[in-house]
């Protein structure tokens, strides 16, 4: 415990995007200060204990929070799931990128599956909401639509291909 306090004694500030909202968290020993961008600061004393692989028990003023680290930037607190991206103070760029979105846009597969059909060709102009690619998984077909008007810069997959979640399927510019 003592060692831990010493280890964390210096105040460290983290920039965060939580559920799409920018926020910041500053930890000092077993205290932390949390602030939503533009919001008031909340300061708390806490105690954290490991409760098995990827699970934490966090106590704040006697209130008990069971925390599960779900991976891929997801955290569950008392059964409620949050998407949290933590950025090192240094790399502000990363954070803004997560907040905004502009320029050529990579269309990633939202789920693992198989590409059933590609509905556009490279160079084609597409309208917002226009169908681009059909991916199938678990007996369910899903049509991926364009988030905005633009032009298909490149197609990175083909009908019949197996894809993982996050694979870039095509790029809109």
């Amino acid at each position: 415990m003592v060692a831990r306090r010493q280890g964390d004694a210096a105040a460290v500030k983290f920039e965060i995007v939580i559920g799409g909202q920018a926020a910041s968290l500053t930890t000092t020993g077993e205290r932390f200060e949390y602030r939503r961008e533009g919001g008031p600061a909340m300061e708390r004393q806490y105690s954290a204990a490991s409760a098995g692989d990827g699970t934490l028990s966090i106590l704040i003023d006697g209130r008990s929070y069971a925390v599960a680290i779900l991976g891929a930037g997801e955290v569950s607190v008392n059964g409620r799931v949050f998407r949290v991206d933590v950025f090192d103070p240094r790399e502000q760029r990363g954070r803004r990128a997560a907040a905004e979105n502009s320029g050529p846009q990579a269309m990633t597969a939202p789920m693992p599956g198989r590409v059933i059909r590609v509905l556009v060709v490279a160079g084609q102009e597409v309208a917002a909401g226009e169908g681009l690619i059909v991916v199938e998984a678990m007996k369910m077909q899903n049509e991926m639509k364009s988030p905005r008007a633009g032009r298909v810069q490149a197609i990175k997959t083909a009908a019949g291909a197996a894809v993982s979640a996050g694979d870039v399927l095509l790029v809109i510019e």
Binding site: M111, M140, N142
Partner: protein, 496 residues
């Protein structure tokens, strides 16, 4: 009783049946595709037989391979579970031809009930009320228009070989009829290799209530009451209950529907376990829809309330034993609710979410029953339907069963893939659900009135703190980019 039984299915229902066989002292043979080599069913069964590559068409739908596996392993009977070949009369006949007992109804009953139009005719002949409509498939547009006019719009197009809402269309005006028939028919063709569709009057905001029947091979049949299955998403059941809230207020309805169900089942010379589906309108008129000639996914709520083990009775009945439970012995005690935990993402129009289960915490404790087909470390294949587990709770009253479900859901944690767990917690808190005001329109209305509760600031802060404390840890593989830029329309997800 049998010495050895082959389970011709996968996932949670294969596990359910393997457990029943173990309890009955019967050796079990699981089957598996390449994707299921290390499935929970294979781990738990006494023996396991390889069928083929992952696609169901090359494994779980291959009658020849399954019958062959049963012979090779010396299984005297086959339990088909639900889905796959469970309602395939050819499979039942192939078993009979191979002198293997098919644990289900006679193939003739399967065949008769397999065609919705034939089932309608049978129900009518048995004096059961059906939704007004044609008994026969649409042959030409003009007749269809005439029929629709007689029924009065809105009408419903349904696939004769249908199920799961595929090939189903609501039509509000004659102008839309032709296109709807074309779409429905082609969808039905894709789904069932049979494009036949027919017309029904659309019953507005009905409850979907089904009656469980159980009959032996010596002419004795009983009903085990109803299951309320109104909560559906795209015609897929999501939450089921027993008893139905409407029965609580109107117990005589259970008697009337039970009697009707038995009349229809007897007319089909039915035996073993079966379920008759009905629509119930606001005035509690009920209409026979179709019969499922197999064990239902949602059978646990009936087991919890009646104390009868449906799978054990399926085995005994198939072994020729008499059903020793009389109708007057059946008691409905307390209330049970079931949630179907799917590998899907409620925050992204319920997109499928296959992949590896990085971590799993299962709920337990009083009044909780979990029927799961997965384990921590298991990779959920993308080749089959997304049902991971069924979570059911029992309590003396519906209110406490719901409270217990909320509690159980709060204990359930699945990491690595997305599931609809949290979505169920929202429904358990919904005033309309708690009041038992249900209809097949429930979920659409729920989505409309649903507003995500904002987390209190401290909980959010703890999430941020935990993420910071965890920085070092690696992240799971198959999860979905949060700020995914796709625009999706839930209603579009099943392509037309």
């Amino acid at each position: 009783m049998f010495q050895k039984v082959l389970v011709a299915n996968r996932g949670e229902i294969a596990v359910r049946i393997v457990r029943a066989l173990r309890e009955a002292g019967v050796a079990s043979v699981a089957v598996y595709s390449e994707a299921d080599r290390a499935s929970l069913a294979v781990l738990m069964a006494d023996e396991a037989a390889y069928l083929g590559p992952a696609p169901a068409s090359e494994s779980y739908l291959r009658i020849d391979k399954i019958v062959d596996a049963a012979k090779r392993h010396g299984a005297e009977a086959i339990h088909p579970g639900y889905g796959f070949l469970s309602e395939n009369a050819d499979f039942a006949e192939a078993c009979e031809a191979a002198r293997i007992v098919f644990i289900g109804p006679p193939s003739a009953a399967i065949r008769q009930m397999g065609s919705k139009t034939a089932a309608r005719k049978l129900a009518i002949s048995a004096g059961a009320p059906v939704v007004p409509g044609t008994e026969s498939a649409i042959d030409n547009l003009e007749n269809a228009k005439a029929t629709a006019r007689d029924l009065g719009y809105p009408v419903l197009l349904k696939a004769s070989a249908g199920g799961g809402g595929k090939g189903m269309r609501r039509v509000d005006r004659e102008a839309d009829l032709e296109a709807a028939i074309r779409d429905a028919s082609s969808e039905a063709q894709r789904a069932f290799q049979n494009g036949e569709v027919y017309l029904e009057k659309l019953v507005l905001e009905p409850r979907h209530i089904e009656i469980q029947v159980l009959g032996d091979r010596h002419g004795h049949m009983i009903h085990l009451g109803e299951r309320e299955c109104s909560i559906q998403r795209r015609h897929q059941k999501v939450i089921e209950e027993c008893p139905s809230p409407v029965m609580a207020e109107h117990p005589e309805l259970r008697e009337r529907m039970g009697e009707t169900a038995l009349r229809i089942a007897r007319a089909a010379n039915y035996s073993n376990a079966g379920t008759l589906e009905f629509l119930v309108d606001r005035d509690r008129n009920f209409y026979f829809l179709e019969m499922n000639t197999r064990l239902q996914v949602e059978h646990p709520v009936t087991e919890l309330v009646t104390g009868l083990d449906l799978v054990q009775w399926q085995l005994r009945i198939a072994a020729g034993e008499p059903l020793t439970v009389r109708q007057e012995d059946v008691r409905w005690s307390g209330s049970a609710v079931e949630c179907r935990i799917y590998a899907e993402d409620p925050d992204q129009q319920f997109l499928p979410s296959p992949g590896q289960i990085a971590r799993l915490t299962e709920p337990a404790g009083p009044g909780v029953r979990l029927d799961s087909g997965v384990y921590e470390g298991w990779t959920v294949p993308l080749d089959y339907d997304p049902l991971l587990a069924k979570l059911a709770t029992w309590a003396p009253s519906r209110e406490t069963a719901i409270a217990r479900m909320r509690r159980a859901l709060s204990e359930c944690m699945i990491a690595g893939i997305r599931t609809n767990r949290a979505f169920f917690s929202e429904i358990m808190d919904d005033a309309e659900f708690r009041a038992g005001r249900l209809s097949t329109a429930f979920l659409d209305e729920f989505f409309a009135r649903r507003k995500a509760k904002a987390p209190d600031l401290e909980t959010e802060a703890v999430a941020a703190l935990a993420a910071v404390l965890d920085q070092r840890k690696p992240t799971a593989k198959s999860s979905i980019a949060p700020t995914s830029q796709w625009l999706q329309d839930g209603r579009e997800t099943l392509l037309r």
